[in-house]
């Protein structure tokens, strides 16, 4: 059992402590909760990405998928709409785009890194060709246009993300599907020889990742009120960073949803703490990059110490 997902939790505690030393205005619950809103999209993408990476693949197209879904949906739905329709449509289109990635990987046999590199450009390209230089108004969701749960300072998007991530964690760790994802990620050949539906599992994780990207589009759209083709650039790297810092092996097979969530909170806390302390964004970027490498390094060192046994045993 991997304990690597405890690394981000430890780091998170340190960041929160250091953050509170840097600025008295950092540990302010309503503010922190509010800031968390900004990381919901990355969080959803990371949730889907965890499945993809555990399955031994990677999906670089998620941010582009989010943007394309947002553009398509905002073109099709009126200024006001039923939230259920909106979410269903976004998730459906996202899944479809994810399935295209999956088909390229399973049927086209293009390595996922390249397939999704190509769709990353293509999806955003379609969005740009479609919307052109203009913004599209995002439909207002009737009944869900308030940003907070009741009268509490708790904003609903992060809560929904945590619920989705929790459910996704259960799926990953406690269901047949999750077991199949881990098996395929560990060794696709042996999985096929054991009668697991390898291609279907791969298709499913890409569809799932696309679905999460679709859901992220809902949050992105409702947060900004408008959507454009150039939103969310680099969000895929944030998602991958969270997954990897969270202790999921980039080689596939082993992963933890809790780790992903903790790592995303870690990145959010670190950026916010630095932002409030007046650290320049360019320094923040450097620190987050270093943090990524350090977190994995720390996990590696712990892992190395734990098992020195060579694989040929």
């Amino acid at each position: 059992m991997s304990r690597r997902d405890l690394v981000p939790v430890g780091l998170l505690a340190i960041v929160l402590f250091v953050g509170s030393r840097l600025s008295a205005r950092f540990l302010d619950a309503p503010y922190l909760l509010d800031t968390l809103n900004l990381y919901v999209e990355a969080g959803l993408l990371a949730t889907g990405m965890t499945f993809v990476i555990v399955c031994g693949e990677i999906d670089l197209s998620v941010a582009s998928t989010t943007v394309l879904v947002a553009c398509v949906v905002s073109k099709f739905l009126g200024p006001e709409t039923n939230p259920v329709v909106l979410v269903a449509m976004s998730v459906a289109i996202g899944s479809l785009l994810g399935l295209v990635n999956g088909a390229l990987v399973t049927i086209g046999r293009v390595p996922s890194f390249l397939a999704t590199l190509a769709t990353m450009a293509t999806y955003r390209g379609v969005a740009q060709a479609w919307l052109g230089p203009f913004s599209a108004k995002w439909p207002v969701m009737k009944g869900l246009d308030r940003a907070h749960l009741g009268n509490s300072p708790v904003p609903w998007p992060p809560v929904i993300w945590l619920l989705v991530a929790g459910a996704a964690g259960l799926v990953l760790h406690r269901t047949v599907f999750g077991r199949q994802v881990a098996a395929v990620g560990t060794n696709a050949i042996a999985s096929r020889f054991s009668g697991l539906p390898v291609e279907r599992t791969q298709l499913a994780v890409f569809a799932l990742s696309g679905a999460m990207a679709g859901l992220a589009a809902v949050f992105l759209g409702s947060r900004l009120g408008v959507v454009r083709h150039d939103l969310g650039r680099g969000l895929e790297l944030d998602a991958i960073t969270a997954v990897v810092v969270g202790g999921t092996s980039i080689l596939g097979g082993q992963g933890s949803m809790a780790g992903t969530v903790a790592a995303l909170l870690l990145v959010a806390a670190a950026k916010t703490a630095m932002g409030v302390a007046g650290v320049k964004p360019e320094v923040q970027v450097t620190v987050v990059g270093v943090l990524l490498v350090l977190a994995v390094l720390a996990g590696n060192m712990a892992g190395l110490a734990r098992r020195k046994a060579p694989t040929q045993a």
């Binding site: 997902d5 405890l6 939790v9 998170l12 505690a13 929160l16 509170s20 600025s23 008295a24 205005r25 540990l27 302010d28 619950a29 503010y31 922190l32 509010d34 800031t35 900004l38 052109g132 230089p133 203009f134 913004s135 929790g166 964690g169 760790h173 406690r174 947060r223 900004l224 009120g225 408008v226 454009r228 150039d230 939103l231 969310g232 650039r233 680099g234 933890s256 949803m257 809790a258 780790g259 969530v261 903790a262 909170l265 950026k271 916010t272 932002g275 409030v276 302390a277 007046g278 320049k280 964004p281 360019e282 970027v285």
Partner: protein
């Protein structure tokens, strides 16, 4: 499952522990700067690493010294529509009275700006406004009367080409509002019969990236063998265009000029083109003073913040050393006329 619980517990625990002492110095209660306290100005440019905004910053600092205020520049690392949101939120939380911002997109900042204003922050946009969403900011300081840029560029073009021949425009991104406004202005001006022999053949977009702008400029030379001129109302575009003309030798008097050569004009920061002007690749180009823009923004913001002035059409205010400025429609203030840079004066500027 157990692990999930441990992790969740740890997070909740830390948050709870951290939030404990927070009410003691509840930040929101002290955010609105009292009349006696120092005015805190935060400037959020489009992105980091752009000397144009460094000039704006300089102007802000100069004014701040006069006002006894503090200035801090927080530039997002990428110039996209969402990156400014985080920067603004953090700045407001840290404490800020006057937010000066150059918006990357006209319509993605509405919520975060409203939130800031609710907390007593005065919001002034500089250089690019949130066009169509003016109610979400207090005032705007823009370089020059937008309507005057187009005609000025056409006039500059006409004086360089003798009012005839094919020309093309090399712009920044397809959705840059200023650029599009100026281009529209140029097209309008071209309808004047005195420019009937000037023919706009193409408008291309270099996204303010050196590589893309260069490729587009080179493509223009290929596509239009009879091209007489290029207008680029953006620094990176002009820099790239000058570079391409020099490389290909097709500037007026260049080795491959094919007659009169291709002239280039537009809007750019002077440093970018010093060499090109010295070599004769570029004869003249234009820009306003970004520093003055910053200076006005600081003074205006401070007056708005202390309610000494309101941003209504026709209202006027004085900026020390720059005379009286007048609000035009929608709380907009213009800095002044374009400055023309050429061989005679370019050495005097450094930005």
């Amino acid at each position: 499952m157990l692990r999930t619980l441990i992790v969740a517990g740890a997070i909740v625990g830390i948050l709870a522990a951290g939030c404990g002492p927070a009410p003691a110095d509840k930040p929101t209660s002290e955010t609105p700067g009292g009349a006696g306290s120092k005015l805190r100005i935060v400037f959020v440019p489009k992105s980091a690493g752009n000397p144009y905004f460094a000039e704006v910053s300089k102007g802000l600092e100069k004014a701040a010294k006069e006002l006894g205020a503090t200035v801090e520049t927080q530039a997002p690392t990428t110039a996209d529509a969402t990156s400014q949101v985080t920067t603004i939120k953090d700045a407001v939380q840290r404490g800020c009275d006057l937010l000066v911002i150059s918006a990357n997109a006209p319509d993605t900042l509405n919520d975060v700006l409203d939130e800031a204003r609710k907390k007593g922050v005065t919001v002034v946009t500089v250089d690019s406004d949130i066009t169509g969403n003016e109610t979400h900011r207090d005032a705007s300081v823009l370089p020059v009367d937008q309507e005057k840029v187009g005609p000025a560029l056409v006039e500059s073009l006409a004086s360089l080409t003798g009012s005839e021949g094919e020309f093309a425009i090399l712009s920044a991104a397809t959705d840059a509002p200023n650029q599009n406004k100026w281009i529209a202005g140029m097209k309008e001006t071209l309808k004047n019969p005195k420019y009937s022999k000037l023919k706009l053949v193409d408008t291309v977009y270099g996204d303010d990236e050196m590589q893309k702008s260069t490729t587009e400029m080179e493509a223009l030379l290929t596509k239009y063998p009879n091209l007489r001129a290029v207008v680029s109302p953006t620094s990176v575009g002009m820099g790239a265009a000058a570079q391409v003309l020099e490389t290909s030798g097709r500037y007026p008097g260049g080795p491959k000029a094919n007659g009169t050569g291709i002239v280039l004009t537009g809007l750019a920061t002077p440093n970018q083109l010093k060499k090109a002007v010295e070599k004769g690749v570029v004869t003249k180009f234009h820009l306003w003073s970004p520093a003055e823009m910053g200076e006005i923004a600081a003074h205006l913001g401070s007056m708005l913040h202390s309610k000494k002035v309101t941003a209504d059409v026709g209202k006027t205010f004085d900026v020390p050393g720059m005379g009286t400025k007048t609000f035009v429609d929608k709380g907009v203030v213009y800095v002044g006329p374009l400055t023309t840079f050429d061989k005679s004066n370019i050495a005097n500027f450094d930005f």
